[in-house]
Symmetry: D2
């Protein structure tokens, strides 16, 4: 499994709100069965078994924002590419909380 997080920043729009762009972008990849996603406050986490699918989903997201009339979009794509362990969106978080919970009194 490969994990990524994509954030999109449309430039030159009238509004300071970007929620509608994120919503339409997510809808555009929601039929893409080989990608799981999770919305977070600062980006959208993507999970797939191949990096090519992460890039394909990222292209769909960027194209969607341009098709909504945005002429420039800045994108930050964080990728966690790991060959030694099979993680999921859930196990990545629980790997940390496990250590937090172990602290107790």
């Amino acid at each position: 499994m490969i994990h990524a997080e994509i954030s999109i920043y449309p430039i030159g729009t009238d509004s300071t709100s970007i929620s509608i762009y994120i919503a339409r972008a997510i809808e555009a990849i929601s039929d893409f069965k080989e990608i799981r996603y999770q919305l977070t406050p600062m980006g959208t986490v993507l999970e797939s078994d191949k990096i090519e699918k992460i890039f394909e989903a990222s292209k769909i997201i960027i194209d969607t924002v341009h098709r909504m009339g945005v002429k420039r979009v800045e994108v930050i794509l964080k990728i966690d590419s790991r060959t030694d362990k099979d993680q999921t969106i859930e196990s990545k978080v629980s790997a940390v909380t496990k250590y937090l919970e172990s602290k107790g009194p």
Copy 2:
């Protein structure tokens, strides 16, 4: 409110696992009453009313990783600085899901 997301990548450690560093870093800021945080699969979201506190928490996180014996740490800090609207970690996500939910049949 100002929001940020911090990701830390320790360089030159023996292990491919970074969970323990994230856990200790989060514990180091957990007493910091002026910072709320939320763990996500690709980073830790921070919320505060002032950017100075975000930077102060980031410094504590970086110092914690160095004190654990890591000589080099790469850090990605995404900041969303907004003066026109008061958002929270929760309202940022619901602003997007609102549009997603409105699509229904």
Copy 3:
């Protein structure tokens, strides 16, 4: 033209130095005629006419690092996707310095 910047952080290596990984990754894309690149202190800037080629080069870079024995690599890919103006690596910088120079005495 589309511009990007890629930074790679190998995790679990013995050394704090990452220069050799960046060098081998750049060599791996240096024959790729449809990509121009520029090394900067915090990342490698990529220029191409299509986003697919940016993603293709990014995959080559990540695969190269894994083939060097690194089991986990964190990647930050910044993309500037613009449909209204044809810029180059050079014109992006000069667009800013133009304003700086105009300040003079």
Copy 4:
């Protein structure tokens, strides 16, 4: 020495150009003797001997963009915090080109 790279993305402006914001932000930190900077196509590299100064410069940059009338600005700050070696903006690049040059025929 600590190195960072800051990129700023103003949201809700009329124009797709962001050069003027970058120029004014750089001017705002240009008197700050304890920070060296270098403009690159995808961000501005910062060098200082203390992380506090990197954060102070970042705050000045963000405040400058807001004072120009921008109500929301997204910021990406990459930090390379290293305690084992004293590098400069120049030596970070030459550490990579050294390996590239050594490849010759």
